[in-house]
C-alpha cells in the first residue's frame, strides 16, 4: 500500500511537471510578457530594466525552476489585464466553481446510482424504459442547449428560479459560499442540473450495465440460494461489486465537470473560474491562463490519486497479501 502510494505520488509529480512546462512555455513564449505589461510609451531602457527585474534574462532552465518554485506556492504573478495577483483572483473565483461542480457531481451520483440500480434490476419495467429514453436526451443534447432550455422554462416562463449569478454569498474566511442562503441555493439549482445531467445519465447507464453483469454472477446466485433478503443481495453484494468501475468513471467525470464548468458558467453568468478563464483567453491574459491550466491539472491529479486509494478500500484483492492455503 505504502509503496503503491509513493509510486502514484511520484507519477503525479511528473504529470504536474509536464503541465508546468506547458504553462511555462505559454507564459514565456506566447507574446512577450514585457510588452503585455507596459504601455507603448515605455522606453527601451525601462523595458530592459523590467525584463531584468522579472528575471527574463536568466537561462531558460533557471526561469523554469523559478516558475515551478512560485507555482508551488500558488504564485502565478500579476494579471496583465486586471493588474492584480492571479492567485487572489482565482482564490475569489475558485469557491464558486468548486461548489457548483461538487453539487453537480453529488447530484449525478445520488440520482444516477439509484436509477442505475433500479433500471439494472427491473430491466423490463415501464419506468426503466422511461429512464433510459430520458437519459438518451441527457447524453445527446449539448450542455448549453440544456441550460438555455432550463432558463427558458424555469426562469422566463415559470419565474421560479434565477437565470444568472450566484445569489447572496456568505464569507467564511477566504471561502465564499452560496450554500447558506436561500437565494444562493436557488441560484445553484439550474446550473447544477445543467452541469450534472450528462454525468448523471452516464453514471446511470454505467451502473445499469455493471449491475446487469454482476446480477448474473455465481456469488449473487449463491447469495440468493442462501436465502438472503433481496435488499442485502442487491445493495450489499451486487452494488459493491459495481463500485470499482463507477469510482473510476465518477472520479474522471468530476475532473471533467470542473473543467467543463466553463460552458455552464458562461450560460448562467456564474462568477467562477471558467468565466475568468474565458475572459483571460479573450484578452490574452497569459498568467491567468497558465494558473488555470495548472490548477485544473492539479485537481485531476488529486482526484486520480483519491480514486486509486478508494480502489484499495473497496477491493481487498488489491491489498497485497499472500494467499494462505
Amino acid at each position: 500500500m505504502l509503496a503503491f502510494t509513493i509510486r502514484r505520488l511520484l507519477q503525479a509529480i511528473l504529470v504536474m511537471l509536464v503541465v508546468a512546462l506547458i504553462a511555462f512555455t505559454l507564459f514565456r513564449y506566447v507574446g512577450d510578457p514585457v510588452n503585455q505589461m507596459v504601455g507603448v510609451e515605455t522606453s527601451a531602457e525601462e523595458r530592459e530594466a523590467l525584463r531584468e527585474r522579472l528575471g527574463l534574462n536568466a537561462p531558460v532552465m533557471v526561469q523554469f525552476a523559478r516558475f515551478i518554485g512560485h507555482a508551488a506556492l500558488f504564485d502565478f504573478g500579476t494579471s496583465y489585464q486586471f493588474k492584480q495577483p492571479v492567485a487572489d483572483m482565482i482564490g475569489k473565483r475558485l469557491p464558486a466553481t468548486l461548489e457548483l461542480s461538487l453539487v453537480s457531481a453529488l447530484l449525478a451520483l445520488l440520482v444516477g446510482i439509484p436509477m442505475g440500480v433500479y433500471t439494472g434490476l427491473n430491466r423490463d419495467s415501464a419506468l426503466s424504459k422511461f429512464f433510459l429514453s430520458v437519459s438518451l436526451i441527457g447524453i445527446s443534447l449539448p450542455t448549453f442547449l440544456i441550460g438555455i432550455l432550463l432558463i427558458f422554462v424555469f426562469s422566463v416562463n415559470l419565474q421560479w428560479l434565477p437565470s444568472f449569478g450566484r445569489g447572496e454569498v456568505v464569507q467564511i474566511g477566504w471561502w465564499s459560499t452560496g450554500l447558506l442562503t436561500t437565494s444562493g441555493l436557488k441560484a445553484l439549482v439550474l446550473p447544477a442540473i445543467t452541469l450534472g445531467l450528462f454525468q448523471m445519465t452516464l453514471i446511470m447507464r454505467l451502473v445499469r450495465a455493471e449491475m446487469l453483469e454482476v446480477i448474473r454472477t455465481d456469488y449473487i446466485k449463491f447469495a440468493r440460494a442462501r436465502g438472503l433478503p433481496d435488499r442485502i443481495v442487491h445493495f450489499r453484494h451486487a452494488l459493491k461489486n459495481t463500485l470499482v468501475p463507477v469510482i473510476t468513471i465518477a472520479g474522471l467525470q468530476l475532473g471533467t465537470i470542473i473543467a467543463f464548468a466553463i460552458i455552464t458558467e458562461t450560460v448562467f453568468q456564474w462568477p467562477g473560474m471558467g468565466l475568468l478563464f474565458l475572459q483571460a483567453v479573450q484578452n490574452v491574459d497569459i498568467p491567468i491562463m497558465a494558473a488555470y491550466l495548472m490548477l485544473i491539472a492539479f485537481l485531476f491529479v488529486v482526484i486520480n490519486l483519491i480514486v486509486d486509494i478508494l480502489y484499495f478500500l473497496v477491493d481487498p484483492r488489491l491489498r497485497a497479501e499472500r494467499a494462505v492455503h
Binding site: 442462501r226 438472503l228 433478503p229 433481496d230 442485502i232
Partner: protein, 338 residues
Amino acid sequence: MSEHPLLSVRDLKVDFPTRRGTLKAIDGISFDIARGEILGVVGESGAGKSLTGSAIIGLLEPPGRISGGEVRLKGDRIDNLPAKAMRHIRGKRIGMIFQDPLTSLNPLFTIGEQIVETIMAHLPVSEREARERAVHLLDEVGIPAASQRLGAYPHQFSGGMRQRVVIALALCAEPELVIADEPTTALDVSVQAQIIRLLKRICRDHGASVMLITHDMGVIAETCDRVAVMYSGRIAEIGPVADVVRAPRHPYTIGLMGAIPTLDATEDRLTQIPGSMPRLDAIPSGCAFNPRCAHVFARCRQERPEPIDVGSSKVACWLAEEDGSRTIVDKKKADQLS
C-alpha cells in the same frame, strides 16, 4: 398415515418459452428423497440436472419457469410459494452448493461477514452468537485456525478451502436438504474425494439429506444411497445405487456404466454410446433415447415409456416392461447364444 418423504417431486415440468416455441427442458420427472438419504443425479451435460435443482429451490432464471407438477417439502407444497416465503426456505430448509467454489463467494466480503449475515438472516441470534457459530462451522469443515480466518477474504483461500467455506455456508442455518450441483468438478483431482467425503460426513452429522448432482459414477457408487439417471429432461432410471450400478436396466444407464472402468470387467462391455443427446428443440417422439439405443424397436419410436417398477428401481424403457425380471445384458447374451 404414512409419513411424508422429506422431498417429493411429482411430474415436475420446466419450460423455456422462446420465440420459436416452448422448449421443454424438464418434462415430467418424479422422485422422492427420504430423510437422511443421499440421492445421486447423473446424466450427460444438458440432461436437466441443474435445472431440477434450481426449480426445487425456486431459483429458475427467467424466462425459465415451472409449468407443471409439484414439489413438496415434508408434505407442504413449495413450488408455488410467494417470493418472501420461498426466501425463508432457501438457506434455512434447503441449502445449495454450486459447482465453482472460486466464484461462489463474493470477493469483496470476508468469509466471516458472509457466514454471519447468512446465519442472521435465518436464525434469531445475536451477531456474537452468529460469529461463534461461524467459527464452529469452519472448524467442522476443516478450516485450520478458524477463528483467525473469519476476517480473511475468499482470494486468500485455495480452491478446496473455498469449497469447504461454501459447504459451511450452505449448512449454517441447519437445512434439512442440501442440493450439491457438481460440487467438485472445478477442483483439483487430489481434493475432490476429500470434499465429497466431507460433504457426506457433515450432512450426516447435521441430519441433512443430500441431492448430489455429478458426472462421476464412481462418486455415486461410493457416496449415494440411491441414484437417478437423467436423459433429455426425464428420468431414465432411478433406484438403489447397488441395483442401478451393478445391474442397470435402461440401455442408457448401461452405456453410462460402460463409460467407467470396473475391476470385474469380464462381460462384453458396451463402449461409448454413439451419437449425442438431442437438442431441446429436436427431441424425437417416443423414447428420447431411441436414436442412440442399440435395442430400439418400433414401439420406442411411437410411444413414450413411463417409469415402471422393476424390483426396487423405476425404469422408463419398453424393454423393462416386456422383460421386467431380466436385465438387458442377460437378454443380449441370450440373443448371442441362440
